[in-house]
Structures are given as structure tokens and as C-alpha cells.
């Protein structure tokens, strides 16, 4: 196992969630679940983050913000859509302002459905994301060697 998956730092952005999923994301950091056991830290800064946790659907107002946070993150990086709103738009899918899931704005690597998404589901999704992060990290190392 490489170092990329041993120290996954996350950034959490609330696109247009009802806050249900946000509470669950933060619950994962609390003593009950204590994701810092796996080196996971919630950074407030896209430049330090490896994993982008998005809750809620993408709408006309926040699509540019989601894109910008993604662009500011340094490779290798992965995106986890937390909650059914972030996956497909959920119960808000036919609102006049909602565009849809997060994948309408940026490439999503792991989908974690649920309304609200359970902390266990978030942890499972992040663990799955770590595998993808590891692959991307290897690909980057190859690229660096080649260059």
C-alpha cells in the first residue's frame, strides 16, 4: 500500500444539501466513528485535500464553485458524491434550478447513496475511493518518471 491511501485528507463542500448529509459527514469525524484512525483529516482547504466530499445536488448558482474547488485540488484526487442528492439530484431533481447530481459538474469516482447517507456508507465510500486514489497516485508517479 502506498502513502496516498494512508493519509487521505478530505474537503467537504455542501452544494445544495438539506444539511442532513452534512451532519452525517461531520458525524464520521466524531469519536463514535473517529475516521482519524485511518489518517483522514477534514481540511478546510482544497489545495491540501485528496478527497472531495460533495453533499447535495448541483444548481445554477453553485456549479462554478464545485468546479473551482475541484480545479484547485492537486493531483492525485478523487471525488465522492455523498447522499442521493449528490448522486442524481434526489428529491430535488425536478426543481427548476437544479441541474442534477455532482457528475453534471465534475467527474465523480464513488457514489454513496442514502437519504441521509449513513456515516458507515461514507466510510465505505471513502475506503473505496482510497483504492482509486492509489491507482491515480501510481499513474502520476509513472508520468513523473517518464517526464
Amino acid at each position: 500500500m502506498g502513502y496516498a491511501s494512508k493519509s487521505p485528507w478530505v474537503i467537504h463542500y455542501d452544494a445544495s444539501s438539506c444539511n442532513g448529509c452534512d451532519i452525517e459527514v461531520l458525524a464520521a469525524l466524531c469519536p463514535g466513528y473517529d475516521v482519524e484512525r485511518f489518517g483522514i483529516i477534514n481540511t478546510g482547504n482544497p489545495k491540501h485535500a485528496d478527497i472531495f466530499l460533495v453533499t447535495g445536488s448541483v444548481n445554477e448558482r453553485n456549479i462554478s464553485v464545485v468546479k473551482q474547488i475541484y480545479d484547485q485540488m492537486v493531483e492525485p484526487k478523487v471525488v465522492v458524491a455523498c447522499g442521493i442528492c449528490a448522486c442524481t439530484g434526489g428529491i430535488f431533481h425536478d426543481c427548476y434550478n437544479v441541474i442534477g447530481g455532482v457528475d453534471k459538474a465534475i467527474p465523480v469516482d464513488v457514489y454513496a447513496p442514502g437519504c441521509a447517507v449513513r456515516p458507515e456508507a461514507i466510510i465505505d465510500a471513502v475506503v473505496q475511493a482510497l483504492g482509486i486514489l492509489e491507482e491515480k497516485s501510481k499513474a502520476l508517479a509513472e508520468k513523473k518518471k517518464g517526464a
Binding site: 502506498g2 502513502y3 496516498a4 494512508k6 493519509s7 485528507w9 469519536p31 473517529d34 482519524e36 484512525r37 485511518f38 489518517g39 483529516i41 477534514n42 481540511t43 478546510g44 482547504n45 489545495k47 491540501h48 485528496d50 492537486v74 493531483e75 492525485p76 497516485s137 502520476l140 508517479a141
Partner: protein, 289 residues
């Protein structure tokens, strides 16, 4: 002779301090987690973090922040080398301030409002702790009769008996120097009390890794200063020094976990009051005695 000892000391410090500092940082995170009722990360987590940062893609806003951080690292190693090879305490204090200045310049160089805010606050931190550091060195000189660290081993008793007020003042500003809450104004290790990330907002990858390694080395050096107050006679007193340094480290973690960040006005005022009262009284007593 003394130049060569300093050089050897610097190389030895540059190799050993990151190892010790990394373990201390890992302990810090485990102890902090236990204080919060959590299990916490593995002991080597800070090492994993830095290895990951080094493997990240190279992205920089200004192109020079990495160079500034390299300079900061070199000066940190030099300051540690001077101190641990038994050199001049005052010189070590000045050189480590140079490292702090390079760190501030690295933060300014990105032109990001958040990182400039952090750089401004880091400057305030330097302003806050520097008077007490100087007075601490002066008290040490008056008690030991020399600025040279190696001379403590010739003393009949540790300098702490003559410099207790100065030591208390130094413990106070140690929290600022270690960038621990409530004085972690420029950048915090705890995201929940941070606007974005202060000084390190625009740093990523290798540059951020250098910041982490610099913090490790700084921590080792400052704990060395703490231990200095308790050394005398022969090298056997080093055991007491290590115990005191670890106790100070635990004390700092306890404070870190129990206080929220204060405003810079309070930090500056309290640090200067501590410097004037503790340092001032100590100097007067030492002059009279």
C-alpha cells in the same frame, strides 16, 4: 574548531530532529485524540502525511514559496546545530527567527488574501514572543555566566533555581512558538477554527511537506531550550532534561486541547506583560543578588 563542531551539529540535527520531531507529532495526535475520547491515528501518521505530500503533483502559485521554505529549513537546521553542539543560545534564537521570517515570506509570496492574513498574524506572533526569548537568554547568561550551552555542564546547580520567573515567562511564549491553541493565530492544525488555512493556504505538495518538517525540527529545538534550564554538573543531568521536555510537551498538548484561539491583541499584550514582569523581575533579582 567551533565552526566544525557547529557544522557537525547541524548535519546531525538535520538527520535526527525530523525523526524525533515526527514521533513527537505522532504522540501529540494520539494524546489529543485520547483527550477527546477518540482512538486517534497511528504513531507514524505524520510521516505518512509528509510522504504523501512529497508524492503529490507540483503546483505552486508564485514559484518561489518552495525556495523560501527550503531556506527556512536550512536556517532551522543551523539553529538546531548551534544549540545542540553546545554553541551560543542567543545565536540559536536569532537564527531560528530567520527561519520564521522565511516562512512568513513564503506565505506572503502567494498574494492570496488568506495566506497574507496568515503571514501578518505570523509576524504578530514573532513580535509577541521575541522579547521574552531575548530576556530568557539574558537571564540564562546572568545565571550561567555564559551564553554557551555547553557551559551548563560545569555549573554546580541547574540555572532554574536562579531563573524560575524567566522560565515561567518562557513556558508562556512556548505555546506561541509551537503554534498551539490558543495562540495558533497564523495557521492551525485544527481545521474547525480556521478560516481557510492561514499561512499555508496556497502551499501544497512538497512545499507543505517542508513546512511540516520545519515544525518538527522547531519543536525539538524549543523543547531543547526548555530542558536547558534543568542541566548541570555532568551529562547525567540530560535524563532530567528529557523528562522536563516531555512534561512540557504534554502540558502544551493539554493547553492546545482546552482553549479556543484568542484575538491577536490579547496575545501581544499578554506576551509582552509576561516578558516585562517575569523577565524584568528576574533580571533585577539577578543583578541585585
Amino acid at each position: 574548531m567551533s565552526f566544525i563542531t557547529t557544522l557537525i551539529g547541524t548535519v546531525a540535527f538535520a538527520v535526527l530532529a525530523p525523526i524525533v520531531g515526527c514521533l513527537l507529532a505522532g504522540l501529540d495526535r494520539i494524546i489529543s485524540a485520547r483527550m477527546q475520547g477518540r482512538v486517534g491515528p497511528p504513531l507514524l501518521q505524520p510521516y505518512y502525511d509528509v510522504r504523501k505530500l512529497i508524492a503529490k503533483d507540483d503546483v505552486t502559485v508564485s514559484g518561489v514559496d518552495g525556495v523560501y521554505m527550503t531556506a527556512a529549513l536550512v536556517f532551522t537546521a543551523f539553529a538546531g546545530g548551534i544549540f545542540f553542539s553546545g554553541g551560543n543560545l542567543l545565536m540559536s534564537a536569532f537564527v531560528i527567527t530567520m527561519a520564521a521570517l522565511f516562512f512568513i515570506m513564503a506565505a506572503y509570496s502567494s498574494r492570496s488574501p488568506y495566506s497574507e492574513l496568515g503571514a501578518g498574524r505570523e509576524t504578530l506572533q514573532v513580535m509577541s514572543y521575541e522579547p521574552m526569548v531575548l530576556l530568557m537568554a539574558v537571564c540564562f547568561y546572568m545565571a550561567a555566566g555564559s551564553f554557551n550551552v555547553r557551559d551548563v555542564f560545569g555549573l554546580p546547580a541547574p540555572v532554574i533555581f536562579a531563573t524560575l520567573p524567566a522560565f515561567i515567562g518562557f513556558l508562556f511564549i512556548l505555546t506561541i512558538k509551537l503554534r498551539k491553541s490558543p495562540f495558533d493565530l497564523s495557521t492551525s492544525h485544527h481545521a474547525h477554527q480556521e478560516l481557510v488555512r492561514g499561512t499555508t493556504t496556497e502551499m501544497s505538495g512538497k512545499t507543505l511537506a517542508k513546512v511540516e518538517v520545519m515544525h518538527w525540527c522547531e519543536n525539538v529545538l524549543f523543547l531543547g531550550w526548555t530542558a536547558l534550564f534543568f542541566l548541570w554538573g555532568g551529562p547525567a543531568s540530560l535524563v532530567l532534561g528529557v523528562v522536563v521536555a516531555l512534561a512540557a510537551w504534554f502540558f502544551e498538548i493539554l493547553i492546545d486541547n482546552n482553549f479556543a484561539r484568542v484575538k491577536w491583541q490579547f496575545m501581544l499584550r499578554s506576551a509582552w506583560v509576561m516578558a516585562l514582569v517575569c523577565g524584568g523581575i528576574n533580571i533585577v533579582v539577578l543583578m541585585v543578588a
